[in-house]
Amino acid sequence: MASIHEPQVTTATLMHSVMSGSDANTFVGRTAGEHANASLERIAVVGHATGDRFINVGFLCALSILAAIAAFSYSSIASFIEREAAVARSHQVVETIERVLAQMRDAETGYRGFLLTSNEQFLQPYFAAKNSLGPALRDLRETVASRSAQGERFDELRARVAKTLALIDSIVEAEPEVWITDTQTRLENAQRMMDAVREVAAIMLANERALLARHAEESRLSARKAIAIIVLGNLVSFGLLTGGFIVLRRENALRARAEREMMAANEGLEQGIKERTLELAETNQQLNLEIEGHRRAREEIALINAGLEAQVSRRTAQLEASNKELESFSYSVSHDLRSPLRAVDGFSRLLQEDYGDKLDEEGRRVIKLIRDNSQRMAQLIDDLLAFSRLGRAQINSAEVNMEALARESCDEVEQAASTQLTIKPMPPAWGDRALLRQVWVNLLQNAYKFSGKVAAPAVEAGGYADGEEHVYYVADNGVGFDMAYYDKLFGVFQRLHRAADFPGTGVGLAIVQRVVARHGGRVWAKSGIGEGATFYFALPKGA
């Protein structure tokens, strides 16, 4: 019984394991352990199902076999009992026939005695036999009635017995005078009848004995068969029981193993979960550390930014202050430097006018030099102020038609009539029209100035798009310059030619560079001595 209960317990445990396995599965979520666990679970479930089916089928088979064995046993035992009953019946038939024969003998003995002695005393056994023959025949009839051949013989026997008894009765009840004449015949008849009875009875006995023998044999066979069936049935039952036991043991072992594996897997899973949890905790800690680090970094950045902002505003204030200083400086220059110059120029002019006739040639030349230089200084001051103003001027950007502006600028420039001017199509620019006009004027003025002394002066202005820039240029075929001094080209008050050859203050190109730089562009130039010069400026496209 214990071995039957065990698997149930095991199944329950197994089911629990499977359930908790899937619970754990749900808890973990989609992890690496899930796959292994799922396959284990599948194995367990499949094993469980096939085991159950196997047991059910086996149980049904065993049940049928046992039922068949029981049926066979029952039928063989029933058959044996039947055969035994037949044997008993045959014994009874033989006994009853012998009883009938005995009583017939008693009746014969009795009536013969009476006939010999006429003593009625001898009739007593005859009557007794005659009386008990009735029940004996009735008994015999009951036992043989079912069997046809013996039944017919019984009828014959009963008829012959009745006839015999009737004949004997007729002899016994006849008048004594009749006896002598007929007795002999009647006796002979009776003797014959009695023989006939014996004959039938003998046949019946023989038949019955044959039947008995057959029945006994059948009974013996039946008994042996029943025994064989019972033994065989027991053997089969034993085998089934043993097989069932083995199957259950094996199933039990399988389940126990599956359970162990499941538990191991669960343990592994739990271990995995623990490890994963630990890893997560570790990762969390790292993340927290990183977050903390980020927070600190942000704070530091905020601090630095605050510091930077303070620095920027300090610098801005310093710049504003220095700008203001610069402004008041240039204001002073513009206002205060010109007055003395005007006085120098004015009084030397008065000297010239009022006392010119009292001075000699050299004196008048010196006065002229004084006036030239004071005027040149005035020009320098004006240019310097213009340059200074450019640094502060607000740039009001808009789209500018550069071709039209270049053409317009030409009108403002003093030009030699012989100069061949070409203005080519050029893209529009984005910038301050007034400032860009200054650029064109300065560049064109330069071009005219430095090409003025060649045989066939030519000046060309143009422009083109280049990547993210629009490039403009002014080219001349003038004296050019030595690229070795290129560094000085765009500096303030820097000149590459003698003032006597080409007049100028050296501010023009500095102004050009400052304007272009303030537009986010760049300037450059290409030249060689006697090869003319090309000045380029590039401005960013669009706004």
Binding site: Y331, S334, R338, S339, R342, F347, Q375
Partner: protein, 146 residues
């Protein structure tokens, strides 16, 4: 005691060299004897409003004031503001005659109602020409309320 009745031009100029050059220029147009020269803004205001040393001045207001910007005591802008703020002196033509070509000075002057703004050329010939033309224009060509 100077007679101020004939004064038609008030020259306000602290720089004596500039003043002399200006007076010489006006002399060429024969306007010299009608010019009165003061060296600072305070004196200019006294002259116009007949206060201080000019408290006893009885003559009419000048027909032109040539005003420098940078002046001791009271600067040119303040003089301009005061004259244009007073309804009695608002109609006196004021011409700025200054070395400053600064944009802000020009804008400020015009916003206060200056009648003209002239940058003194350094070149004496140009200066003479400019001053004499200004004097000629305002004194002889221009019509103003009496």
């Amino acid at each position: 005691m100077e007679n101020y009745d004939e004064v038609e031009i008030l020259l306000v100029e602290d720089n004596s060299a500039d003043a002399e050059l200006a007076l010489r220029a006006l002399k060429r147009k024969n306007l010299l004897n009608r010019v009165h020269w003061v060296e600072d803004g305070a004196a200019a205001l006294d002259f116009i409003f007949r206060s201080g040393q000019y408290a006893s001045r009885t003559g009419a207001q000048p027909k032109l004031v040539l005003l420098d910007l940078k002046l001791p005591k009271v600067d040119g802008i303040e003089v301009l503001r005061r004259l244009k703020a007073d309804i009695a002196t608002r109609t006196i033509p004021i011409v700025m005659l200054t070395s400053s070509a600064e944009e802000r000075d020009i804008i400020k002057s015009y916003s206060l109602g200056v009648n003209s703004y002239i940058v003194k050329p350094v070149d004496f010939d140009k200066f003479t020409q400019t001053v004499s033309e200004v004097g000629f224009y305002w004194m002889l060509l221009n019509k103003q309320p009496v």
